[in-house]
Chain length 387, copies 4
């Protein structure tokens, strides 16, 4: 199999990122099957046509039901708003399509499990869009942990700090409405942290959390879009039904202690998706705002020159980087998706499940809901309570 025919539902922020990845892949990773960009789908005929033209899709659809039925499509890429994920994924699986779904998998754990079950029943490949796994510096962190160079893990601490809704007059976009988004910073940002923790140091055992909605009401926007929107200060206001910030502590199966914080109210932080791992032999630190760098410390360095090393992960020795530019030449956010779809297409070609897949989506959702339960009941919750 040297090509995979793709149909994509959704064309906003994530749709643009995915489109770009499909276009970049063949040039930088000719080892992977070539994606054919068959069709993009969205409800607004003019919007989807404009996206089709700009992003380079062959055709446009306005009804996802039509798209999942098309027999010239092998893979359905779902990046519509979160409340639509389940229905599309289940239908696409039933139609025998491979699945690539943005996170969060679904609005609830039950829905996520249904989606996994549908994919497994259909025997299709399924991937979930935890793209931060595919940052070269993150892969390097994984490699160091996996090779035992950090030792036994004691601590994992992670924050995802943004400030895009800190203005109280920022309008009530869909990401601030529970019935569409499912969750606020917890599901949007915290989900990434949870997945990175699982990827890097293993499974969660128990959690305790807290959350807050600092701004309870916001202007209702005249037009609703992905991340930006306009509302009127004099116009009607609606209730914010998701969390602005969620924090939790965790204990991992391997014995590590975890600290997690996701917020959209950290002034000055545009996208501080950051983690640090401390182990018996060393430490690693990452901050997505400097995504090409990994800070690494080794306890067995000579006594007089111990210190965190700023590793610029752009050398051929670093994951993915021999496909790109000479050392010192950085890559950007969008290529996390290029690496991600490479994994997806190689998995399809190799007849194996890609990683991360819907199982990872379900496990992430378990932790998210365990935190929610913990907040509701003001106590520690073991992940296996949800099983």
């Amino acid at each position: 199999m040297d090509k995979v025919r793709v149909g994509m539902v959704g064309y906003k922020f994530m749709g643009k990122a995915h489109s770009n990845a499909y276009r970049a892949l063949p040039m930088f990773f000719p080892d992977a099957p070539k994606p054919e960009m068959k069709a993009v789908c969205g409800r607004d005929p003019q919007g989807v046509e404009a996206a089709r033209a700009q992003f380079g899709w062959e055709s446009a659809e306005t009804d996802w039901r039509r798209l999942v039925e098309r027999d010239d499509i092998d893979l359905v890429d779902i990046n519509a708003p979160s409340d639509a994920h389940k229905e599309i994924a289940v239908a696409a699986a039933a139609a025998g399509k491979h699945l690539f779904c943005e996170k969060p998998l679904a609005l609830t754990l039950d829905d996520a499990r249904d989606m996994l079950a549908a994919a497994e029943k259909a025997g299709v490949k399924h991937m979930i869009g935890f793209n931060y796994r595919f940052v070269p510096a993150v892969q390097l962190a994984k490699k160091l942990v996996a090779e035992g160079r950090i030792g036994k893990i004691y601590h994992f601490r992670a924050t995802f700090l943004q400030d895009w809704i800190i203005d109280p007059e920022f309008p009530l976009v869909w990401r601030l409405q529970k019935e569409i988004a499912g969750s606020g910073s917890h599901g949007d940002l915290g989900a990434h942290l949870i997945d990175l923790a699982r990827f890097l140091i293993g499974e969660f055992e128990e959690v305790v959390g807290m959350s807050e909605t600092f701004i309870k009401e916001r202007p209702i926007p005249s037009s609703m879009t992905g991340l930006s929107a306009k509302g009127s200060a004099d116009g009607p206001r609606g209730e914010v039904t998701v969390d602005d910030a969620t924090l939790f502590l965790a204990r991992f199966a391997g014995g590590a202690l975890g600290s997690f914080e996701a917020t959209r109210f950290a002034a000055g932080h545009r996208c501080t998706n950051a983690f640090e791992i401390n182990g018996s032999k060393g430490s690693v630190k990452f901050d997505f705002e400097r995504m090409n760098e990994l800070q690494v410390f080794f306890r067995d360095d000579a006594e007089d020159v111990q210190g965190f090393r700023r590793v610029l992960a752009t050398d051929p020795a670093h994951p993915y980087m021999d496909a790109w530019w000479p050392p010192g030449h950085t890559i950007g956010f969008e290529h996390t998706f290029t690496h991600e779809v490479r994994e997806l297409l190689l998995a399809i070609a190799g007849n194996r499940q890609p990683v991360p897949n819907f199982t990872d989506g379900v496990k992430c959702q378990e932790v998210l809901e365990a935190v929610d339960l913990s907040i509701a009941e003001r106590r520690w919750v073991r992940i296996d309570e949800l099983r």
Copy 2:
């Protein structure tokens, strides 16, 4: 009053730091009364005599009871191990001496309250050694918050990360024994974070925490000292009875969310006493390893040049710094104590209570014990449950 006669109990790490502060004060802050270094006290006659000579005290005592009775002493400085604080402080107060006590105030909240009561009953001045308040960059953060330049506070996140006992063969020094130290990283490091949070953004409302002792047994050291010691790998081992790491979440009376972590197992961190405050107008960040710097962000900066400013807090416009060197010339850790004893001596001269004082010590202890209770009962604990 232009001089204050000091007697000091303890001469290890903190005793050295305090001695240095008394020596430096008159040169840099001639506005404060001059401390007269009358006597230093310790149980080991040779040790205390060596400290007396090196640090420049006029006389040495081996029994603190004698020291607190001496009528040529106005102020008793207590930096002996934590289990001795209460008895000395109560006796010194009864003798009418002003009190300067290292943190933690006592091993338990009850003892701390007794100490405060004793000081209040005696009508003496009392100060507690939360020296990090006296870092110029921290004072600058306080000023920015107090002047409303950060706005309403949403988040406070703090870590105190060290790695000095990460080696499992590091011996069982007194700081790892509950009956002497009271607590491990929680009371030693976390106490500083709690005090900084109270200083900077106000009172705690409720907490939930977790803690761990990663290395359960360690070699019993041949000789016991402040921070360094030697043990034998083949020799006898004893149980570590304090926490290696403690984390907790908090809600503040003002509505902010807090995240706190204190650990001695963060490889590569020698002394990362760090905090960040996010408010509706801006943010500040501090890391003690770069103690002369404060990172500051303002939301109302021009749109195209927003970013965290690295403020090198060494200008005359910065707290304390007109007493020191020209801009760009940094000061070190030890002068947190110089500023601290200035506050103490000015308060004594001005017949007011210094800040922070035993009341702050008690309030810090309340939070520490609320976290302990939360860990024991696996639930959120309100601070007022302890009152």
Copy 3:
């Protein structure tokens, strides 16, 4: 004009970068004409065909003379080794093609002037590939200077530090041979610094320099490629005929003092293309290894919060960035070329010369040769001596 038909000569590092830019442009900048990737050209039939397939060109040529004659081509993109630039450019201009030439324009100032004359005589558009102008953070620096927000400029200091040939066994690739490359670090790296200086603060007046070849002989490589190659330690060696490092001081027409250093022997620096500008009102600092950031200082900030701001140039307020991702999501090296070809294609469509063009190439070459003359004669050289 809504499309421009491109033929490209060369397909190594720069050819890959240009190809990627042509592919990315329509997706992110639909305001520009769409480039049609008609033909790629190289001497090795298998190599060029592989590049054609991977990079997505419609056809391949092995003789650049055929390519420049093709009447389905509007624009000739020249990124072959530097010694071939002139002949191709002159022929392509004669054939009425617009020109896009990688830097350095030519091996000598005379050749560069001939190229400019040929382009002007033919009345075609001409651009030179000083891609670093097109980093958003660099454009932001330019904007701040141009708007007077940095004030009168006193200092410009720039370094381009790499370490890719620091190993004495690294082989004698074409970039180390004067007859092909024209120059070493001076022409390769220093040329970028010179162009950035001209772009940001204006024309040079006089220079004095020094240079060195630290490793005089190197293994002759078995196969010669762009940046990587293999040689044998036992095999034959050849003389390195270009500089390993060149430094120079400069005085600018506007009165500023300049310091420049280009080296391939700075261990630990993969691509430190960095500059700092100090003016009467403020300063800016840039380092390509963190290409999404600009450090900015303003003297009129409030006294107690002055400091360099780390501006993450990924907001909509920053040049180009509304075409990309949400704030905090960085872009990579390759999109300097995307922005560059946008300028080129917009200029062609708008019937104006793009910037930077061959005139900038000539002026850069003047400074390069003034430095060379200064080194040869051990004295200051005024740029106008070369005119």
Copy 4:
């Protein structure tokens, strides 16, 4: 010899720094002889008496001639304005006193040589105040170079950037007058860079430089002091007779290339005394604004984790630091002097010349004057032309 009796001439910035060092030394370095602070000298009776009281000197003198004659003084510490150095030093040497002179040694190379000759003739110990050698992180850099861990040195690049006179209304203090200060940024700041280069990588061979006085006239100050002063915008103005900025290139005897820049017009830089050394095996970087840190890179680190290490030079393994505080607890600017006087007093006790001494002062002056000559004659100047 267990004590050295000190008389000090000058009591402004440097006098305060030296006084503090004498006071701190016995507490932190009991291995050194104890300095006895016998007398401080200055022309203004009230000023010198105030300094005496604040800094803790036993007596005050208003005529340095009396001071150098006192037979209860072993060591004369000269930190008066530079134009007074020579006369005092020669007289003190003649009186058999050991000498500790601030930099620059004298206003001219000839005077510096006379001072060295006088000291040698008298057989006294002589030290010059290049205090930056005594930063622990700088000593660590020296150690790494000396042990061969950086390899053969290719590059030394150094800047000393300040901004304290960038305001054109800053008055014409003595440091801006050639007849008193001898030189501007070149002699004040550049001298430190030259000494650090000599200390770290060896002797200079030849130099070429440039300099500028950006602000030619300034208000004449009403009262003249060390670094701060007030002038009136309407009042009389006088000519600035020293350089605001001086840059130069250098070739070292060992083959390295050097770049040097000293300026007082770099907005945002309070005290960026910074250098980087690149060698065949690695690199080190230092910035005095973060004086407790050294950045270190080793080429033989494992390929996937190469990067500059941020070494916080506060461990017992680092120079001087076992005398101070636990790891992670930084020291400040002033203790460069504490380490400096330790060297001086140990040398006096050990009957050897301290390092750096007047010979280093003369060699620094040679380089300073070679740069001046180079500027005057617009050509490269070999250091040995001045011998």
